[in-house]
Symmetry: C2
Subunit: 230 residues, 2 copies
């Protein structure tokens, strides 16, 4: 067996979570107010250490459950942050993830480690402890580019939703305004391809299920290919 393996002393491994919530036409992030040092009373992203037998997904879910009281959400790995001084307590590598939820479906509660848990609208996010400001910005960036090619936004809406609601979400995340009619065409074209397998010929041509935008459609994730107009 490889001797390198046993003598090895390694940095700690943690995850941090950027939880996005969409509520009343505005996008927010979930932040914790810390009870302990470092950054006592400062705002940070929820996070925690990886236990021996956990997967990254499992840690993320554990943190959400114990610290915030929600579970089972859309989750994507973002990036590993490794700056040597990022945590004043010692060397910690953090593998950041971002998550999307609909705040109305959950009652958030401050876990025992936090004074407070709060949703902050994106333009009112304070300076964060550790390197969490950078993590937050990168997560937002990733979400923006992701939503342009994949329909991740559905996690943030209700079970069923209208075209207008979907558009509002896109405009909010991308921070642009989109022509209502062009957006509609994009979605219908994409959904048509998903549902029938072929391209939509002529605008009137549509699939009976197309206007429901219900659970079925949400579970079949389709390529949106919305392009950012400016």
């Amino acid at each position: 067996m490889n001797p390198e393996f046993h003598t090895y002393k390694n940095p700690s491994l943690a995850v941090d979570l950027v939880v996005f919530g969409y509520h009343r036409q505005s996008l927010s992030v979930l932040l914790l107010n810390r009870k302990d040092a470092p950054f006592i009373d400062g705002w940070t992203l929820p996070g925690g250490f990886l236990q021996m037998e956990e997967t990254l997904q499992q840690v993320c879910n554990r943190i959400m459950r114990t610290k915030i009281g929600i579970d089972n959400l859309y989750l994507e790995q973002l990036y590993a942050f490794d700056a040597p001084q990022r945590d004043p307590r010692g060397r910690v590598i953090s593998i950041a993830h971002y998550a999307l939820i609909n705040p109305e479906r959950f009652e958030i509660v401050a876990g025992k480690m936090a004074n407070d848990v709060k949703w902050f609208p994106l333009n009112q996010v304070p300076e964060l402890g550790f390197d969490h400001t950078e993590i937050f910005h990168q997560a937002l960036q990733r979400l923006k580019s992701k939503i342009l090619s994949h329909p991740v936004g559905f996690e943030l809406l209700d079970e069923t939703f209208t075209m207008t609601e979907l558009q509002a979400l896109y405009e909010c995340i991308l921070d642009i305004s989109i022509d209502r009619r062009n957006f509609r065409r994009k979605i219908l074209d994409s959904a048509y391809i998903l549902l029938t397998g072929s391209k939509r010929e002529g605008l009137k041509n549509r699939h009976p299920d197309l206007y429901k935008f219900n659970k079925d459609l949400k579970e079949n994730r389709f390529q949106l290919n919305i392009s950012a107009q400016q």
Copy 2:
């Protein structure tokens, strides 16, 4: 101080490297033949454990230097692989990276941990140890999507290169064929925007520096927006 921090026992942290090299119009990956268990005599990606005071970049460079004898390359973080059983020796999380080099510029040598180091053309890559086959495929996928929007390919070419050489590289990485004249237009349009800040009007309109494709142009990374034709 947070008691959670001190009592914490964590998985090991490693990096694995997918090193792409482009040589004689064909793309290859660098693989090691293992001297030690597990997977004795099997092929794997080069990798290593993260030391206490290293950044991820530094580990990657150390591995390249000691195991293969090359250094200082284009490096990008790919993904953290966390399957509990991915390493038979114990729990190891690996943060995979991929790198691009021009093999002609380096003499690769097997370090003391390996029987052999070899370039494998992409279509001749054997089954790899650990979960490295999956890592390799994901790295290739990422490289493909990256090259469509960013000019990463320059790292794989010589100091100066022709439009034809650049196109060959793109065709090779993306595994498609591209019309020579359309490719040229794309590159010239993008480069024009980079050099002048405005859009090219009319095909003849070009910038005096445009034909050099030299160091200057390489350092100013520009958006290519090549789209994959079938």
